[in-house]
């Protein structure tokens, strides 16, 4: 069955001041799949990721042209509900960044901000999100202790739970395992693969093996351009472009 596209990006160009970080990118992000963005540092992959929930708005010099359509609606049109967008498009960062509060409050924070008052309802959301993030069993007896006492891998899963508590449609992940040890990495990867049943996931990774292991689609960026985008199996076995081949085989530079 062919999947629908959750995002449709048309002729996207992103400028930081006078120079462009991304040029003329066209790409469709399929729903309920894992899309990996790869490429050397400075290639524009994180910039691209951040256009999907308008995180780049926080950078004063940043300006974009082109369209970023979420469910066929341009996220950059005037009056677009940015808070609503970030609720629908959650994000997990490279370094686990739990709030300095209890495990429970970390996950409850989002729903509370959204105006959920009913304690039972919040509790249900928190437990569900922790379960989905494969963390609940490890922390169920210490939900009221500080999140900062968790291990790095647990903290990252807590951040994923915090994002899931907002019931997003899309989850953006910016190198979510690069600060974790190999076992914690595999746990997160395993989790991401499970999450794609319900969420559309876009992940930036510097680990080509990680992209090959978990993603359904891979996009290779180089110097602000989307060089190649396709099914992961195809891109890693028979890439169409020489630049892609050179990068994934480690013969770059």
């Amino acid at each position: 069955m062919r999947k629908e596209n959750v995002f449709k990006i048309e002729k996207l160009t992103v400028y930081y001041g006078a120079s462009s970080a991304l040029q003329n990118v066209d790409i469709d992000i399929p729903e309920k799949s894992i899309t990996a963005l790869i490429g050397p540092s400075g290639c524009g992959k994180s910039t691209f990721l951040r256009t999907l929930n308008r995180m780049n708005d926080l950078i004063p010099e940043c300006r974009i042209t082109g369209n970023v359509l979420l469910d066929n609606e341009n996220c950059y049109k005037n009056g677009y509900d940015i808070i609503g967008l970030r609720k629908r498009v959650g994000m997990v960062f490279q370094k686990p960044n739990p709030f300095p509060m209890t495990i429970y409050d970390n996950v409850a924070y989002g729903p509370r901000c959204q105006g959920v008052k009913n304690k039972e309802q919040i509790k249900k959301i928190v437990i569900e999100a922790l379960e989905q993030a494969a963390l609940y069993d490890e922390v169920k007896d210490r939900l009221e202790t500080s999140a900062l006492a968790l291990s790095g891998g647990q903290q990252q899963r807590l951040c994923i739970a915090r994002a899931l508590a907002m019931k997003p449609e899309v989850l953006l992940m910016d190198e979510p395992t690069s600060a974790l040890d190999p076992i914690a990495t595999l746990k997160i990867e395993n989790l991401i693969e499970k999450l794609k049943e319900d969420y559309s996931i876009v992940i930036v990774t510097h680990s080509m093996q990680q992209a090959a292991r978990i993603s359904d689609y891979t996009a290779f960026f180089y110097m602000g351009e989307l060089i190649e985008y396709g099914k992961t199996d195809q891109l890693f076995s028979v890439p169409k472009h020489k630049q892609t081949e050179d990068y994934i085989t480690g013969r770059f530079g």
């Binding site: 080509m208 093996q209 890693f236 028979v238 890439p239 994934i248 085989t249 480690g250 013969r251 530079g253």
Partner: protein, 218 residues
Amino acid sequence: MNIRERFDASMQENDRLVLKMMSRVKTLYEAIFDVLKENDIKAAEAIIDGDIEINALEELINEHAYIVILKQCPVASDLRKLVTAIKVANELERIADYAANIAVYIKKTVQNNESYRKLMYIYRDPLVKMLETLLEAYHETDVKKAFDVCDIDNKIDVIYEEQIKKFISITREKTQIVAEEASRALLVIKQLERAGDHLTNIAEHIIFLKTGKHVTLN
């Protein structure tokens, strides 16, 4: 700038081993046809030794490719190259077995079998040409040359079909001894025909190496 020197050296070693094995098989086939031409029983012994050496090369290629895959996590054309090496080595090992089987036939056959040996010798040029072309095709990752190999195999198949008919008529007409001789010779020809098929398989693997697509040529 080369940033994967050790890896590139491993890939070159892989190529070196595959080409060495292919070239040894070619030498083995040239030798087996010399044996067929002269009915040289002593030289047939050397063929059997040559096959043992080729078996060892297959193991070496497999082990080497396995370790490179293990340590370097190759992708794209690198991965295809290592997978191809394992497959090609397997085909070459089989092809060398056929040569050894033929050597055994020569040793066992005491009667004057010259007319049969002449029929067998017809396979020499096409088989050696296939091996030569494959050496170049692998070395240059040349799809066109891989297809040329398949064309030669088609010619072998035609020769084989004709010879089979001839052998069947011989076994009908002559005495029991002749029929036995013809049957043995038939087995040899079957080996030569199969060698052609496996050489064509190698051509298919080279096409995979270049294009990533699996094709069936025979």
